[in-house]
């Protein structure tokens, strides 16, 4: 019998480990009205999640390289624009590449910044090899240990509303891990040119290139 999930994934093991939610449904539910945020995304999966949700809107900056930079781009943007809510949506692999950023962000703790880590426990883009979060690493605890006071893992339908609130409210930076099945993100084709995306983003936000 053919599986309808990516080749090489041990889906039964992933589900047993709590990676249950469908990212294509859970990510839009968590975010709600996307126009309320400026987005910075990681590579691959989360870039496609957010590009599909916004139809590759001018209020998103998606990455396809420079792995490990998403949270810090978000911090620079949040500090520059305290009048806007900034949401970094990134994957477990991208986040793991620069965990120190969580310490840097915790120290400043901007209230207009939230980080949504869409954690499927795998490196989806390179063939669904297991990431550290499938092997015992707990990103919520790392964030909390880094000093981020509002850190939480969301792994079931019933918790989505609470996660959604955290992304939108609060007096300090929020860090939400959304555990999802290791399954493909929406097949959305986005603009992959980092320079034209910069011009597009700044044009919409600042009225300038």
């Amino acid at each position: 019998m053919a599986n309808d999930y990516p080749q090489g994934v041990d889906m039964a093991a992933a589900i047993a480990a709590g990676f249950i939610l469908d990212r294509r449904k859970a990510v839009p539910k968590m975010i709600g009205r996307h126009e309320d945020f400026l987005f910075v995304t990681g590579l691959a999966g989360t870039a496609r999640d957010i590009a599909a949700l916004t139809r590759d809107g001018a209020h998103i900056y998606t990455m396809a390289g420079a792995m490990g930079g998403a949270c810090m781009i978000g911090l620079g943007l949040a500090l520059a624009r305290p009048d806007k809510r900034v949401l970094v949506a990134t994957g477990d692999g991208e986040l793991l590449m620069n965990l120190g950023a969580l310490a840097t962000i915790a120290v400043l703790n901007p209230a207009n910044l939230a980080i949504l880590c869409v954690d499927n426990g795998h490196y989806g883009e390179t063939g669904y090899q297991k990431s550290h979060t499938s092997l015992g690493v707990d990103l919520e605890k790392i964030a909390a240990g880094s000093g981020i006071k509002r850190a939480r893992t969301i792994a079931s339908e019933t918790e989505l509303a609470e996660g959604s609130r955290m992304l939108r409210e609060g007096n300090g930076t929020a860090f939400v891990v959304l555990k999802v099945k290791p399954d493909d993100p929406p097949p959305f084709k986005r603009n992959m040119d980092p320079a034209s995306c910069r011009t597009r983003f700044r044009g919409a936000l600042l009225g300038t290139g």
Binding site: L38, V40, Y61, M63, G65, A66, M67, G68, G69, A70, C71, M72, I73, G74, L75, G76, L77, A78, L79, A80, R81, K84, N98, G100, A101, A103, T104, V107, L108, P194, A195, C197, R198, F201, R202, L205, L206, T208
Partner: protein, 175 residues
């Protein structure tokens, strides 16, 4: 010639004022003796945001985010930190982001610590390979004019520029 503390304080204070006059508000750094006054001034300045990094590549990404939001920043680091930035500079080069860094050099003129040489000597070739223009400063009187030129190149010209504060300027370390 190595500076005495008084003249180092003078050019660093002038440098801070120059950066602030050009609306630089985000000061990102990994602590370093060569940037001590700039870091302390940014911490004391209510109009600036002082961002202590765990590794220098964080600063590269931070400054790209600042630019997306219409703000200007500078990355203060030691020469060893440039090596930590290299892949993140893909973001700067590919995205045509303005990028300004001030690099306090080690592993160069008069260096006594052998560990500092490999990265110190590689700073210019690796930064240039990633599209960053390098400007070297040897004398205190050149600091303000050179950083002034760099500010124009970065925030009007849209370039990536590293200003290298050499050990002629800062004083060589024998340890």
């Amino acid at each position: 010639m190595p500076d005495d503390d008084g003249s180092a304080a003078r050019w660093q204070d002038e440098l801070y004022d120059l950066l602030r006059r050009h609306n630089v508000t985000q000061f990102a750094y990994v602590p370093d003796a060569g940037h001590r006054i700039l870091i302390d001034r940014s911490l004391a300045d209510p109009g600036a945001q002082s961002v202590a990094l765990t590794t220098e590549e964080e600063g590269v990404a931070l400054l790209a985010g600042a630019d997306l939001g219409g703000a200007r920043g500078v990355l203060l680091m030691q020469s060893s930190g440039t090596g930590n930035c290299i892949n993140m500079l893909s973001l700067i080069k590919g995205g045509h982001f303005p990028f300004l860094t001030l690099v306090s050099m080690r592993g160069d003129f008069g260096e006594g610590n052998p560990w500092q040489y490999p990265m110190g000597q590689a700073v210019e070739p690796v930064l240039q390979a990633m599209g960053v223009i390098c400007l070297r400063i040897e004398r205190p009187e050149d600091v303000v004019p050179t950083v002034g030129a760099a500010l124009t190149m970065v925030f009007q010209g849209g370039r990536a520029v590293a200003v290298l504060l050499t050990q002629n300027l800062l004083g060589a370390k024998s340890f």
